[in-house]
């Protein structure tokens, strides 16, 4: 049933999985992504509907002429878009909270307090103290680089730092106490009292750190990290090797939860001198036969390398709907189908997940390169014209080439072939995923989830001899 290649990959994957499944960090990350999913689904659906149906440059808004029969449509879109801002674009902060909370449980700290300390730290780090407290950069950081879940890594990092800081300061505080508190001496406020010192120190440290970040002149911690990984402008030449390399780099950043330079919603790829020249030449000649720059980020990456958002997510969603044996994966795929069709890949990243998932990281990096190669070959050999006319960034990925060439059937065929090529890359990994799932069902996997059981509740609190509330206490 599995090809030799797939068998080899299964062996590799099982070993990786056995190693990382024991790690507290990995367990906390998977649980964080799981708890983040509802907010991402809600936000992503809102985003997809508002940007495609209710906004002036939306795909459905234009092709079905919404403005003609519903004049108020655009104001509905504005409201929906703001709602998406406080769900999906807030995911960086939600992730900081959830990650710290799950880590704290694994370290047997008070998860509620640690989670909130991490959330506050994340917000403090987005404040620029030098420009004054009235200018909070939280709102700005939300939509940074397209927003969505693409700055999740920063939330996780803050959550981790806050948790470890809290642990450290708790340990320091432990040295001051003459003896360990037994639970009989504990009152409701004991854990609160114990949390004052570590929580205060972590928050103070974030204020100091935030001040240093302010000195760098960047927009908070997220801005600093994105600035650090940003590529210089000169790196963006329109050679196929550069296009491939930058797409790969962008997608590597994606799978750890950072936003790279490329996105179907950034104007970077469209607003180049080359694209303008192409458009001018096409409009003047009225045909696509003599385009000065057939290979650009726009004609290759936008059209053939990002169907359904980065990483050819639409291919993965379709493949999972048809091939996955795991009901949960199929359910997530159905939820993500519409947003992915509109090029929002967030649900897929968080839901399958692709983020930090050794199975899907590899095809996520590989599939766009293969599909872009298909598109590039067809353009180079003159089989299909390059995309020149402006299209909607919410148009389904496989239609972009067809529309952007003003209805060239060759371009449509090339898109379908590129889609199929992406499918060929993803299918083996879905088979591996199925196999792992079937083995999990059969119970043949090693008892790898022992650590995870701690999160289910029973093992978090040491068993107590008596009732949790003492009768003698009076308030």
């Amino acid at each position: 049933m599995l090809s030799p290649l797939e068998n080899w990959l299964v062996g590799r994957y099982m070993r990786i999985q056995a190693a990382i499944r024991q790690k507290k960090l990995y367990i906390a990350v998977t649980h964080t992504l799981g708890s983040l999913l509802p907010f991402v689904v809600i936000g992503s659906l809102l985003q997809a509907v508002s940007r495609s149906v209710f906004m002036a440059n939306g795909f459905f808004y234009n092709i079905y002429h919404f403005a003609d029969w519903w004049p108020g449509a655009r104001s509905v879109g504005t409201v929906m878009n703001s709602l998406s801002d406080i769900t999906i674009n807030f995911s960086m902060f939600i992730a900081a909270f959830l990650f710290a909370k799950y880590l704290a449980r694994l370290y047997q700290l008070n998860d509620g307090i640690v989670g909130w300390v991490a959330l506050l730290a994340a917000m403090i780090l987005q404040v620029n103290f030098l420009t004054g407290l009235n200018r909070l950069n939280i709102a700005g950081s939300l939509s940074n680089n397209g927003g969505g879940v693409h700055n999740l890594f920063i939330g996780l990092l803050v959550g981790l730092m806050a948790t470890q800081g809290y642990r450290f300061f708790s340990w320091v505080a432990g040295h001051w106490q003459h003896r360990a508190i037994t639970w009989e001496e504990e009152t409701f406020v004991t854990r609160g009292l114990h949390a004052i010192f570590p929580a205060g120190m972590v928050l103070a440290a974030s204020v100091g750190l935030s001040f240093l970040i302010g000195l760098s002149g960047q927009d908070g911690f997220a801005g600093l990290v994105l600035y650090a990984i940003a590529l210089p402008r000169w790196a963006f030449s329109h050679a196929i090797v550069t296009i491939m390399a930058i797409t790969l780099w962008n997608n590597i950043l994606n799978v750890v939860g950072l936003s790279g330079p490329l996105s179907p919603f950034s104007q970077l790829t469209v607003d180049s001198q080359q694209s303008t020249d192409n458009l001018s030449a096409a409009l003047k000649a009225g045909s696509l036969s003599n385009i000065p720059h057939p290979v650009t980020f726009h004609t290759i990456y936008d059209v053939y390398g990002s169907m359904g958002g980065n990483g050819m997510m639409l291919v993965l969603v379709v493949a999972i709907i048809f091939l996955s044996r795991q009901p949960d994966r199929r359910r997530v795929a159905w939820w993500s189908l519409f947003p992915t069709l509109m090029n929002f890949n967030d649900i897929g990243l968080v839901g399958f997940p692709v983020l930090f998932n050794p199975i899907y990281i590899v095809p996520y990096l590989l599939a766009p390169l293969v599909s872009m190669f298909v598109g590039w070959t067809a353009i180079r050999l003159g089989w299909t014209p390059p995309v020149v006319y402006s299209t909607f960034n919410t148009a389904p990925g496989f239609l972009t080439a067809f529309l952007g060439t003003n209805g060239s059937w060759a371009a449509l065929v090339t898109s379908v072939v590129a889609f199929a090529a992406g499918l060929l890359v993803y299918i083996p990994f879905i088979h591996i995923d199925n196999l792992v799932w079937l083995q999990t069902l059969a119970g043949t996997l090693p008892a790898q989830q022992r650590e995870e059981a701690k999160l289910s509740g029973q093992e978090v609190l040491p068993a107590r001899a008596r009732a949790a509330v003492k009768k003698t206490e009076s308030y």
Binding site: I63, F322, L399, N406, L438, L441, S456
Partner: protein, 311 residues
């Protein structure tokens, strides 16, 4: 594993997606894609066709509006004078009837990037209620012109009440996403009608001031006043022309007031005033000589002018 599955559960959870369901899904997906692709394809065809026309038409007409009681022939002498100084501008006239229909004379020659177009009105009477109607008629003519000649920017010149019609049009009818007015010149336009005292604002002036925020921010505007004596051009008080600053100053990119005296500075003669023709040639025309480069006139500098430039 935290949880043990019963064989039934296991069978349930490991079931393959059924083939019929997959087939139904594929057919439904194909239908949906077609339902998206066909309107999208049609939309794109139209969008590209429009983009081609706009890209290839660099036309920026100069559009004139005559004052009250004047017909579409009001500017004949001015345009004759302009065309004697420059060449290659076609001359096209439109009259808007009271029933919103249009009649035209003349034609715009192909390849003319800067035709002169005059828009006159069958009902060319004075009075605020008529001026309001004329502004609407003008917008009808503009829509028709734009659809027919596919330009996306133009230059406006209004004589007397024509300037009021322009102001109302800019405030009420112009869709700035669709059409750009680059420059506007009003000649002897009574922004405060015949009122000499600026403290007495007429209804039309207060209405124009109320809506002034709708004026295009990038507009460059010249207002020319004629004076025969120290107070008026025989008909329009100079204070009334100056009242235009309450509408345009600090609203548009540039507002310049020019005072012209001497020969032909009587209200009705203003369009023939050589000085004013010079200003039109200097400020309003981008291609003074479309077919014969290098013979551009050099009018003298404004004698008395107050100018406010908005940064």
């Amino acid at each position: 594993m935290a949880k043990k599955y019963s064989p039934q559960e296991r069978a349930q959870l490991s079931r393959r997606p059924s083939r019929t369901k997959v087939l139904i899904g594929l057919v439904a997906a194909l239908l949906l894609v077609i339902a998206m692709a066909i309107p999208a394809y049609n939309f794109q065809k139209v969008a590209v066709a429009n983009a081609r026309v706009i890209h290839n038409s660099r036309m920026a007409p100069v559009i004139f509006i005559p004052g009250s009681s004047a017909t579409q022939n009001r500017f004949d002498a001015l345009i004759k004078e302009l065309n004697s100084r420059s060449t290659g501008h076609s001359y096209f006239k439109i009259t808007v009837k009271t029933d919103d229909s249009l009649s035209t004379t003349g034609k715009i020659s192909p390849g003319d990037n800067e035709p002169f177009i005059v828009v006159g009105f069958e009902n060319n009477k004075d009075g605020y209620s008529n001026i309001k109607k004329q502004a609407r008629w003008f917008s009808i003519a503009m829509t028709w012109l734009q659809k027919r000649y596919r330009f996306n920017n133009f230059v406006g010149i209004g004589h007397s009440n024509g300037g009021l019609i322009y102001t109302l049009y800019l405030e009420k009818y112009l869709d700035q996403d669709d059409l750009t007015i680059n420059k506007l010149m009003t000649i002897g336009t009574p922004y405060n009608l015949s009122e000499k005292n600026i403290a007495n604002r007429t209804e039309i002036l207060s209405d124009m001031i109320k809506d002034k925020s709708a004026l295009p921010k990038d507009l460059r505007m010249w207002s020319i006043a004629g004076t025969e004596n120290y107070s008026d051009d025989g008909i329009v008080p100079v204070e009334s022309v100056e009242a235009g600053k309450y509408v345009y100053q600090d609203q548009v990119r540039q507002y310049t007031l020019i005072n012209v005296t001497g020969d032909n500075s009587q209200h009705s003669d203003l369009p023939q005033n050589r000085e004013i023709v010079g200003y039109i040639q200097q400020y309003m025309l981008t291609n003074p000589n479309q077919n014969r480069p290098g013979t551009r006139g050099n009018p003298t500098q404004p004698s008395a002018s107050s100018s406010s430039q908005k940064k």
